[in-house]
């Protein structure tokens, strides 16, 4: 995700202009989104730790993520294959559906370093992931209450170079990792798991 806010708006306008020309024909937002539930849970509220909850995420974040999966810019095992079945107009429909759902907090255990993680978050992440990563309006992914294994994958991929998350985030993430190692990454994850 790079410069999501501006890109998101531009892309949203583009999608509306071309509405009706999607790969999935006239399939409705509901029809498209219901097919996601087998992996992401009913209406995007995931009960499986490796799969993110996508309920309540912003339209721009969902569309941008799907575009990145489709192009392969965002590393994945299966989302690249799935995203290639749709175009931007379909992504916009899905984004509208899931952004209208309530954010879902995972029911998971919390590690012991949440307090340290809170400080790391405040110093490094809060600027973009505002209000502890709970609001969709900042067009960044949810952190609070998101499944830890999923968040760990995204951070591991960023740190090992398989997913470039953009200059700003990579700089902060690398800084945290260089200074505090895997332990500080875990502290961040513990903190996000502690939030609802």
């Amino acid at each position: 995700m790079k410069n999501t806010q501006t890109l998101g708006v531009a892309l949203l306008i583009g999608s509306i202009a071309f509405s009706g020309a999607s790969i999935a024909g006239e399939a409705s937002a509901e029809a498209l989104s219901y097919t996601c539930a087998g992996c992401h849970g009913t209406n995007g509220a995931s009960g499986g730790p490796a799969m993110p909850s996508i309920a309540g995420m912003s339209l721009a974040y969902i569309v941008e993520s799907m575009k990145d999966f489709k192009s392969g810019e965002r590393v994945s095992t299966i989302m690249t294959r799935i995203a290639k079945g749709y175009d931007e107009d379909d992504f916009t429909k899905m984004g509208k559906f899931f952004s209208a759902q309530n954010r879902h907090s995972a029911n998971q255990s919390v590690g012991s370093m949440a307090k340290k993680g809170a400080k790391l978050h405040k110093d490094n992440c809060e600027k973009c992931h505002t209000e502890q990563g709970t609001v969709a309006e900042d067009d960044s992914g949810f952190l609070a209450g998101q499944w830890t294994p999923y968040l760990r994958y995204t951070l591991v991929d960023a740190l090992d170079g398989s997913h470039d998350m953009g200059k700003k985030m990579m700089k902060k993430l690398n800084k945290v990792h260089e200074k505090g190692g895997d332990q500080d990454i875990q502290a961040l994850l513990d903190y996000y798991a502690s939030l609802k």
Partner: protein, 435 residues
């Protein structure tokens, strides 16, 4: 009505449990509510029941299912390897009741398409405006001489998860180190195309840990199978298999149709399978016979001469009987495979069509997805996925979408496929049976 406002209606409908999603009057002409009767509470039937109620809570949905508990076939191969309990695959119907689905435990004895009535062995009759039949599979016992439903309680098929899964696990546990496990694979089309080969993988995993001198022989009436390259390279990686010499005596020996793998008879007493290539004696034998639609599909006259139920891909309405829809493994929905995810996807398309038709609207444009994971060994998973559209009256693959796990995936990504498989399990079962 725009998508946006309709979605809000759906949300309100779920929350309040009373508002109709489509905004149509909840009462049919004559004052009674629209009735949908669903026959079979597997992945297809249960998903259709829940989603009809989510889409339009004014529709009365009655689900008739023979068993109080449902055991998922998917991940049941992990019960065979000892990686998971049979109980972890068990789901009940209380979640559907929370959605207002009326669940009736009974056997359906017949469907009267003319009178639009479903009759049960328990002596009840249920009138429907639309009926959805999701009977799953049955077996063509006549294809392997000496093997039948009765013998299957001893020499299992274990292709419907439950007691036979437990029986097969016990037989594998009791088998001596150095024993031979013979699996007879089914001809196409059949439920869960990668399933037999995940089964071999999981049993090989168990043998490798506990009975390393043991052998596995696959007798297959096909030349190749689903995820062929991924499975065989996985077997090579973990279990002793030579893709260039598949019938060689590594831990896994694959005898395909070209090498005489088509089984024709079984002698239960000596546990010997007769195939074109000769006789194969096993210490444990597992026979997965050729398949057809579940029995009720034949009773209701919904199946064709090949044994499956032809349907219209936009609504899954039977091509034979009006107002009856068939979904899941029993339906002809090619190119969708006979998988749990496809059954779920078909159920949602069917639910939307049924709700629209009951409200005097045209069935909406459908869209479908399939995703299927197989676990070769702990921390080593593979998958296949596909997006489908509906064009010119047919279900079609969306060009460029889907496909198999890349052969370039490293250990990190293959390990993730296993974690995704487990999370998929939680979410698809929650989506189907959850309240």
């Amino acid at each position: 009505m725009s998508n946006f406002s309709r979605r809000n209606f759906i949300k309100a409908g779920v929350a309040a449990g009373a508002v109709t999603a489509t905004g149509f009057t909840p009462f049919a002409i004559g004052g009674s509510k629209k009735q949908v009767v669903i026959v079979g509470g597997g992945m297809g039937g249960a998903t259709a029941a829940k989603y009809i109620r989510m889409m339009d809570s004014s529709v009365e949905v009655t689900l008739i299912e023979a068993n109080k508990d449902y055991y998922t076939c998917f991940l049941s191969n992990e019960v065979l390897s000892g990686e998971r309990t049979l109980d972890s695959l068990k789901f009940g119907y209380s979640g559907l009741e929370k959605h207002g689905v009326k669940v009736v435990f009974d056997y359906v004895s017949g469907i009267d398409a003319g009178k639009q009535m479903v009759n049960t062995k328990g002596g009840k009759s249920f009138k429907y405006d639309r009926c959805i039949v999701a009977p799953g599979i049955d077996f063509k016992w006549e294809t392997i001489e000496g093997y039948d439903a009765n013998e299957a309680e001893t020499t299992t098929h274990a292709w419907k998860a439950g007691s036979q899964t437990a029986t097969l696990r016990k037989q594998l546990e009791d088998m001596k180190n150095g024993g031979t496990f013979v699996m007879v694979a089914p001809p196409n089309p059949f439920r869960c195309p990668p399933g037999p080969y995940e089964r071999v993988s999981q049993i090989a995993h168990y043998f490798k840990q506990h009975k390393p001198k043991s052998k596995i022989i696959i007798l297959d009436p096909k030349a190749k199978f689903s995820k062929f390259g991924l499975f065989t390279s996985g077997w090579q990686r973990h279990y002793g298999f030579d893709p260039s010499n598949p019938t060689a005596a590594g831990m896994i020996s694959f005898v395909n149709s070209e090498n005489g793998g088509t089984a024709t008879a079984y002698d239960a007493k000596s546990k010997t399978v007769t195939a074109a290539a000769g006789k194969f004696k096993g210490d444990v034998v597992n026979i997965i016979p050729a398949q057809k639609a579940g029995a009720i599909a034949f009773g209701a006259g919904l199946a064709d001469d090949k044994g499956w139920c032809p349907t219209e891909g936009k609504t899954f309405e039977s091509s034979i009987h009006k107002n009856i829809h068939v979904i899941g493994d029993a339906a002809v929905a090619s190119p969708l495979p006979k998988s749990a995810y496809a059954a779920s996807s078909e159920a949602k398309v069917c639910a939307a069509a049924v709700v629209a038709l009951l409200n005097g609207k045209e069935a909406p444009h459908p869209t479908y997805v399939n995703t299927c994971y197989s676990i070769i060994a702990p921390g080593d998973g593979i998958s296949v996925a596909m997006v489908y559209d509906y064009k010119d009256g047919k279900i079609v693959k969306v060009e460029g979408s889907g496909g198999l796990t890349s052969t370039e995936f490293d250990a990190k990504l293959r390990a993730r496929e296993v974690e995704y498989a487990y999370s998929w399990f939680k979410n698809i079962t929650g989506d189907t049976f959850g309240g």
